[in-house]
């Protein structure tokens, strides 16, 4: 029997909560193709680092990969432009769906960008919101003055607006920087209390959401590989995408809840800052929004307004769909299938 193999590269650490979901996804593909298609998965950056993955997939070092455009902003401007909208992502379920629909069908510049990497975008998720993990209890706006907080790109601007000092510490050193007070606050999703041990150094988590990252796409396949597959094999992939995406995003949401419960017991305080903080963040976002279009133009996006409008429209559409149908796991997965992934053309190859 002629088996085909997809070599998949990700840099997520081996214990990352997305990995079990991916393993299931790969297993399901194998079962649905009766073993004619298998996936060899390399996690933890053992095959390609975050910076190396997109180029590696383009050149056939791997066949598929977890892309994060932030590592190579000059090569993935559209992805980085989308990441600018992270600040507005406070509804991971809505944004996950909207993002997938946008990149797959409603954003020619996105398709073009992936085509430059000889790659077919297949699925992504919008992460749960970033929050500040701090060493002391910051509640009022003036508490932030002069404090060193981790933040780059838009979050650097937010820190500056708060009159805090944005500091760029390498992820490998963030825990120790927090522990010794080089950082007053780190910026990450709630889960970092455990996954990155922030809970041991930063016992105050401000739950006011600062937006979840929109620039990570989970599964992207090299076009020659896609073309090499039979329509049935392609369908085995796309049919399993809704479950994978649903599993991944629900995992994130549940993990955040679990961590809040677990770490409240070990003495971390999860709280909302004074209302003036949330109001300030809202104002900042409002002032920031018009800049995004200009930034997009600077980044070389041809029609940044169109992408922005389309993202808004799709977010509105999914807000409505979820309000109407419910947000339980089964419904979400079904909607993803009906509205998005079943519409991927699996019959014909893509022009290389």
């Amino acid at each position: 029997q002629n088996t085909k193999k997809i070599v998949y590269a990700s840099y997520l650490s081996p214990q990352h909560i997305t990995n079990p979901v991916l393993t299931e996804f790969f297993k399901a593909i194998e079962e649905d193709t009766n073993g004619s298609l298998t996936v060899e998965s390399h996690v933890g950056g053992s095959l390609l680092s975050g910076r190396d993955i997109p180029g590696g997939v383009r050149d056939g070092v791997a066949d598929a990969g977890y892309f994060v455009g932030a590592y190579i902003p000059s090569e993935m401007p559209v992805d980085n432009y989308l990441a600018q909208f992270s600040l507005w992502n406070s509804e991971p379920l809505v944004m996950t769906a909207a993002l997938n629909e946008l990149v797959l069908f409603n954003c020619p510049e996105c398709t073009e960008e992936y085509a430059k990497f000889n790659t077919r975008y297949l699925a992504s998720y919008a992460l749960t919101p970033y929050v500040y993990h701090c060493r002391s209890e910051l509640t009022k706006l003036e508490d932030f003055k002069g404090k060193r907080v981790r933040g780059i790109a838009a979050y650097g601007d937010l820190a500056r607006a708060l009159e805090a000092v944005p500091v760029n510490v390498s992820p490998d050193e963030a825990y120790e920087a927090l522990d010794r007070g080089i950082l007053e606050c780190a910026l990450h999703s709630v889960a970092a209390q455990k996954a990155r041990s922030y809970g041991e150094a930063a016992k105050f988590v401000i739950l006011d959401p600062l937006g979840g990252y929109l620039g990570a796409s989970t599964f992207n396949l090299r076009i020659p590989k896609w073309n090499d597959l039979t329509p049935d094999e392609r369908k085995a992939i796309t049919d399993n995408l809704p479950a994978m995406v649903t599993g991944a995003i629900f995992n994130y949401i549940e993990e955040d809840k679990k961590i809040i419960e677990e770490y409240t017991k070990t003495g971390t305080k999860f709280y909302n800052a004074d209302p003036e903080f949330a109001a300030f963040v809202e104002d900042f976002k409002k002032d920031y929004r018009p800049n995004i279009i200009d930034k997009g133009t600077e980044m070389g996006i041809k029609d940044p307004q169109a992408i922005s409008d389309e993202l808004d429209r799709l977010a509105e559409k999914w807000r409505g769909l979820l309000a109407e149908n419910g947000t339980d796991k089964e419904t979400y997965e079904r909607l993803l299938h009906e509205e998005i992934f079943s519409k991927i053309d699996t019959q014909s190859p893509i022009g290389e």
Binding site: R148, I152, V165, V167, N168, V169
Partner: protein
């Protein structure tokens, strides 16, 4: 030949000097950033990016050719210790050809990438935007020059192995060339 060797040596020294400047800047940049951060509620924006993409790339790749001039890249000599000098020269000549080929291919690959990144105006975004494409050329120049130096050494070694000069003559000249190169930096030859 002698002129080519001299020229390659001189160029190696020049780009190593750039590496030396990067070494000192790395220290200064990190210190300034930490001091600003600790005592002045400020920072030197882009420190992480400059250290990673400029200074580290410079201090790693730019001195490679100079080190090759001094035959300073680490090798294991255990198995060839007892061989006659001419045989060792023959082996070294072939090895130097291998180095030249490998480094040449590496420089070619790096150059291909450097051209692409120069055209794209490669940058990274941390606290500020830092253009990184120029440092792609550190790799090309460092490794490319390494290939040239190794090629010249290969010709020299093979000439010795073929009987064109005695091993003693070769060693003598090689020594004086190394001394001249090292003395440029005030280093005491062979002491490091």
């Amino acid at each position: 030949m002698a002129i080519a060797r001299r020229l390659a040596g001189l160029l190696s020294v020049v780009i190593t000097l750039v590496g030396a400047v990067a070494m000192v800047l790395m220290m200064v940049h990190i210190i300034v950033d930490a001091v600003l951060r600790t005592f002045f509620a400020s920072s030197a924006p882009g420190t992480t990016e400059f250290v990673s993409f400029y200074y580290m790339v410079a201090v790693t790749f730019l001195p490679l050719a100079y080190i090759q001039c001094l035959r300073g890249h680490v090798i294991i000599e255990l198995f060839t210790g007892g061989l006659p000098p001419r045989v060792v020269h023959a082996i070294d000549g072939v090895v130097a050809l291998v180095i030249a080929g490998a480094a040449g291919y590496f420089a070619f690959a790096a150059g291909w990438k450097a051209i692409a990144m120069t055209r794209a105006g490669e940058f990274v975004i941390g606290a500020i935007l830092v253009e990184t494409w120029p440092t792609r050329w550190f790799v090309v120049s460092g490794v490319g020059l390494l290939a040239v130096v190794a090629l010249l050494q290969a010709l020299d070694d093979l000439y010795t192995a073929a009987g064109g000069q005695t091993p003693e003559q070769a060693a003598e000249r090689r020594g004086s060339e190394a001394r001249r190169l090292e003395s440029i930096f005030g280093l005491t030859p062979g002491k490091h």
